[in-house]
Symmetry: C2
């Protein structure tokens, strides 16, 4: 008998009717003779409700207690689904982090999974029961409750699939797979049948919200195949798996965008060693991640202009830290810009194709979009542009790389 | 330093303002240098909301999963209070049943506490932290979550006080103590300063809803003094403690009533051995508790009439079981009556005073109340009467035993 891990997100268990629908899907697989472990998120809206409650009570809610509070959402979902399954004659058992030892580090509200006790789950399979596991939560070695951050249930599911050596980890959500771009802004966006871990990682971290980035890292490390599917239809689905020769044919697999960025610019930074180190270690000490950085010689030739991007959430804090440092640094001016966005192309095939970047810049320039910053990796190219051009940029790139057609998309076919 | 256990009920933590109020009360005691363990119920209405959710999903919700579901209510309360305390500069730590090993048996939704690990709590006190413990919940030896039944947080608090050898277990609720009768129907009802465990047990089981019966049994067994107080005022309070000579002076301490009963009568039961055994073991097999039983020789002299009472919840089920049995038993008729109620007087002093029962019957009869059934114990007398007479009955008994006056109330003073 095979082992399958299924994860259902918040919209899939948003109300009792939807929970019944999930129960039917699970029951179907169970009756086919498979060992099924189901991982659930909280009912849609519940985690936000609990977080708001905490913020009404405290400006800086105690993080250990925040995790105790928000982990209740998943506990409610798993109890209700296990109840429903038992009612349908499918023996099922809800399991919380402390019951199957989902061990994590102690970073409350963004903990990382260290280990899961597969023994408990294997015993449940041996008793022909369905394991209904609370996602998003973990437990430290001191038995404190932790949570894994937004989208953490994806990582719970993949980690579970890894320790169980499951045949597949199915992630059920409200879209039917991973698209070449956001179908809401690009009508020609096409669902991908397959995508590599590396491409999915770039897509996830660049703003495609289908899977939590960490879950894909985990899947890659343990070689867990992930099938992203819709809870509400049997069609479609995208398989996230190891790169194969077929994928390499696709130079560009997807176009992503991220509006959640802001830019900070220092004009006329005195040209002396250690300036960048001072700036960026000050930010990193406050847990602010910097995404892109560029530096030019300033117009006067004696100093430099420097720009970098941070998330919108960190923008105010970063601006005030930099303003403080600049009292001793002596740059001519510090500017902030929140009306920027990042647009990226991702594709494993870029490794073996020259001219992809040039084609991207040409396409953007052909419709008058000015590129402010550029950053590249082996399999992606990102450009920061004025936020107002995002939809236009996505569409022109999608057309330019002919992503509406399966197979090659760099003019070779 | 002393150890105090404080329990706050659902109305005391019903919203964020009330949780702040509780935090201030706890902080005050902590700052006086006491070791404080706080036990909380779920926010008022939350447990019912969760139970309704389960019943919408299933006619007979799986009991193991019901406990997983409803135990989340207390988890939310303790997280919020611990958050608030930390915000006020009072180090506090929420604790769930699995974290302090509140071991129970496996009777889901009505489990009994077997043991609590005092070590974890003593370490928390040693670190000068407040322990904020989730009431109502426990854990079995297999790490399954259990709950202790309605009002179970009272028992959590008393059990905690017992293992910690606390100086006192303070139960904070929406009334300021235990009254000689229900102040809502008897304007002369007087708050008692002190009451014995045995009297409180009778009062609790007879329908006074201040404390869960099992919590009082636990307190009696381990000699834990309980102080029942209002969360919303500093005045008042009733101490539930061992019987002392002062209490014995009070022949009657309180008048209680219970409208949650129904009567079943079998007319003309054939007079042969084993009939009662057949009837009551059939009911007990279905977990139906029978309260009062009376049996008379029937008018024809050849058969018996038998009446007994059950709770309203069990009434329909009991009636159908008895109807089924009567197909072979052959009683002339089976009647049900839901418009009855029980009125009781309770007092430790009854042990040493004759004539209390006579005085009760006279008082009821003086206002034309007919007594249908009578049952007595060492320290209580209960009468079943027509439900419509309940308020009248309570008031006339309260006057008759002069309960509005402290001290002797049987004409001796």
């Amino acid at each position: 008998m095979g082992i399958v891990v299924q994860k259902y997100g918040g919209t899939s268990v948003a109300n009792l009717d939807k929970i019944k629908n999930v129960a039917q899907k699970v029951a179907h697989r169970y009756r086919q003779g498979e060992n099924v472990a189901v991982v659930l998120s909280a009912m849609a809206g519940e985690t936000d409700r609990l977080i708001n409650l905490a913020h009404e009570l405290s400006h800086t809610p105690h993080l250990r207690e925040m995790d105790v509070l928000i982990s209740t959402g998943e506990q409610v979902s798993v109890a209700l689904l296990a109840m429903m399954l038992n009612d349908m004659g499918v023996p099922a058992r809800s399991l919380l982090a402390h019951q199957i030892a989902i061990k994590t580090d102690t970073s409350h509200t963004k903990a990382r999974i260290l280990d899961i006790d597969a023994d408990v789950l294997n015993k449940i399979f041996a008793a022909h029961e369905v394991a209904v596991v609370a996602g998003f939560q973990g437990i430290t070695k001191d038995r404190d409750i932790t949570t894994l951050g937004r989208g953490g249930s994806d990582t719970s599911a993949v980690a579970l699939a890894a320790v169980l050596k499951a045949d597949i980890c199915e992630i059920y959500t409200d879209v039917d797979g991973v698209y070449t771009s956001d179908p809401n802004i690009c009508i020609k966006a096409r669902r991908l049948d397959k995508i590599s871990y590396d491409e999915m990682l770039e897509m996830a971290s660049l703003g495609a919200k289908v899977l939590q980035t960490r879950s894909v890292e985990f899947a890659k490390k343990h070689n867990v195949p992930i099938l992203v599917k819709s809870t509400f239809t049997d069609d479609g689905g995208t398989l996230v798996t190891m790169e194969d020769s077929e994928m390499e044919k696709e130079v560009v697999s997807g176009i992503t965008y991220d509006k959640n960025e802001a830019k900070i610019t220092l004009l006329g930074v005195p040209d002396k060693p250690g300036v960048a180190a001072t700036l960026f270690s000050a930010l990193s000490n406050k847990n602010i991640n910097v995404d892109m950085i560029i530096q030019n010689i300033s117009t006067d030739g004696m100093s430099a202009d420097m720009s970098f991007t941070v998330t919108m959430t960190d923008f105010e804090k970063a601006l005030s830290i930099i303003g403080e440092i600049n009292k001793t640094l002596g740059a001519r001016d510090v500017l902030g810009d929140t009306s920027i966005a990042k647009i990226s192309i991702v594709g494993a095939g870029m490794r073996s194709h020259a001219g992809v970047a040039a084609k991207m810049f040409e396409a953007l320039s052909s419709v008058g979009i000015n590129i402010m910053m550029i950053s590249t990796s082996e399999i992606k190219i990102s450009c920061v542009v004025d936020e107002k051009f995002i939809e236009l940029g996505v569409r022109v790139l999608h057309d330019s790389f002919e992503l509406e057609k399966p197979g090659g998309n760099f003019g070779e076919n």
